[in-house]
Amino acid sequence: MQTQRSIRLPARLDGSQLPFVAAIAGSLVVAYALVGPQQFSNFLTIGAVYALIALGYTMVYGIIELINFAHGDVFMVGSFVALWILSGPLGLHGSIDNPALLAVVLVGLFLVTMLILGALGIFIERFAYRPLRNAPRLAPLITAIGVSFILQNIMQAFFGPSPVNSPQIFTLNARFDVAGASIGYLNVFIVAVAVALMIALQLFVGRTRLGRAMRSTAQDREAAELMGVDINLTIAFTFFIGSALAGAAGIVWVLYFGYAVFNQGFYAGLFAFTAAVLGGIGNTTGAALGGFVIGFLQVAAAQYGYSRWSEVAIFGVLVLVLVFRPTGLLGQQLGERA
């Protein structure tokens, strides 16, 4: 059987997790002290995007040990789908000032985009990865690169090679002042959506039948099969969720940055993948944490005038973390399995 992998999460908060929660809270305080309230909001926002993408990486890795390099491009497609829905069928141009209408549009946007993207994820898995499930490990890695090229080129053919503007349905100057900083409601919304999706994912994976099936399949595919789990279905479903979350990240992206471009998935995906590894690949909580860490590093580099070196900082931190914690911040320890 394969080495142990799992999608792990704390099932519920108990005493053993207090140090963890305290560490997170402490890090947030330090982060706040280092960059101030305005940048704090900035890093939470961009961190949320990375975290959402990283979740898909980590789930797919957890279940089939594939570094799905096309995942960043799935996120990119998500941005374009959201952009298209807003400007195409909905025909929007500017902000929506009626909060009720805004809420309806947002709910619809998230539902439709995430469904479409989930379906795309299933499609990709079915045709590019499933046939290679028993092939040498690197074969699906190469098809992932191929899929990445394909997705980029298709989007480029449809939307052109330049950034395409999307209607920004949030009024940009809807902001409130707190602690001497001016925080956009959009930022709050994005962080809230991301956190809500992450909690929903935790609950889903932790508490539901299908979630259990996913974790079992990740741990021991054959044993899960002997429990009556349809492995193909479960893996497809994992892709569905991961891709839907990437779709959510894509929506958040167009809402926040107001544009999409065919190659935006490359670096976003790279950073998100780094986030997943930083957190301990296969671990959903770790992926989310990693996303925020990377967001913080970018913001801190900008704050202190080292933006030229922000990539070096990110990968440098990654190397350091892995040297001292070879399975990432929250990764499972090796040798757990007897």
């Binding site: 792990r8 044993a223 002997l226 789990v229 399995r337 007897a338």
Partner: protein, 255 residues
């Protein structure tokens, strides 16, 4: 040992077991790559029986189970379950059809809790049935109730075996495949496990037991098959097999 010592053919005991076997293998051949693992296994398991497969390392016992549970599909021959040819049905569907298994090495989901492991066992069934059956398993293995919230990986070997059997029972199998349930357990635990196997059988579950501990296996089983290099070399009533000279020499450690 010689093949001339084959005693009663499997059909001999069938008179007592009316009608069609619940599970039947007809001349099953399987391969691992170029290795011809099973070279024509035929056996049958009737309702309410405990049937055991015994044999040395590499005789093909576990492989036979894999041919039954769908992890391995026979290249020739058939597997019939309840009269239906299931040779090429995928493993997860066979669970639904009523074949449950406690796999060799237990294969507990170590980072799922005991309760979650049991819930996985009942994966094919409705939540309400699962809740009922969890109680049933807890009644059978009180230890598991105490450890319900613990991760599977933290259990001792005996507890893990109980969990593996309990988990297999969760799908309400018509036939339960047990692969080496006594492996690595202390003698006392072995006794307990076999007692439980009897009890499960008494409650109406057919059992196909793969054991390397041939004596214990033949003690609980009604009938048995002796496998050697992918073939059935001997078959018969458990009591008869216990008396067989070759079995005694080769598997029961008697001289």
């Amino acid at each position: 040992m010689s093949e001339t010592s084959v005693q009663a053919p499997p059909a001999a005991g069938a008179a007592a077991r009316n009608g069609q076997p619940l599970l039947e293998l007809q001349d099953v051949h399987t391969y691992y790559g170029h290795i011809h693992a099973l070279q024509g296994i035929s056996l049958e398991v009737h309702r309410d029986e405990i049937v055991t497969l015994i044999g040395a390392n590499g005789a093909g016992k576990t492989t036979t189970l894999k041919a039954i549970n769908g992890l391995l599909h026979p290249r020739h021959g058939k597997v019939l379950f309840d009269g239906r040819d299931v040779s090429h049905v995928p493993a997860h569907e066979l669970v639904r059809a009523g074949i449950g298994q406690a796999p060799e090495g237990r294969r507990i989901f170590s980072r799922l809790t005991v309760l979650e492991n049991l819930q996985m066992g009942g994966y094919t069934r409705s939540p309400r049935e699962v809740a009922q059956d969890v109680e049933r398993v807890f009644a059978l293995f009180p230890r598991l109730r105490e450890r319900a919230r613990q991760n599977g990986g933290t259990l001792s070997g005996g507890e893990q075996q109980m969990l593996a059997i309990g988990r297999a029972l969760m799908c309400r199998p018509q036939v339960l495949l047990l692969d080496e349930p006594s492996l690595g357990l202390s003698p006392i635990l072995v006794q307990q496990i076999f007692a439980i196997i009897r009890e499960i059988n008494a409650q109406g579950t057919t059992i196909l037991l793969v054991e390397q501990n041939a004596l214990q296996a033949l003690n609980v089983a009604h009938r048995g098959y002796v496998l050697q290099t992918g073939r059935v070399v001997l078959a018969g009533e458990a009591a008869a097999l216990r008396q067989d000279e070759m079995v005694r020499k080769a598997y029961l450690g008697e001289i």
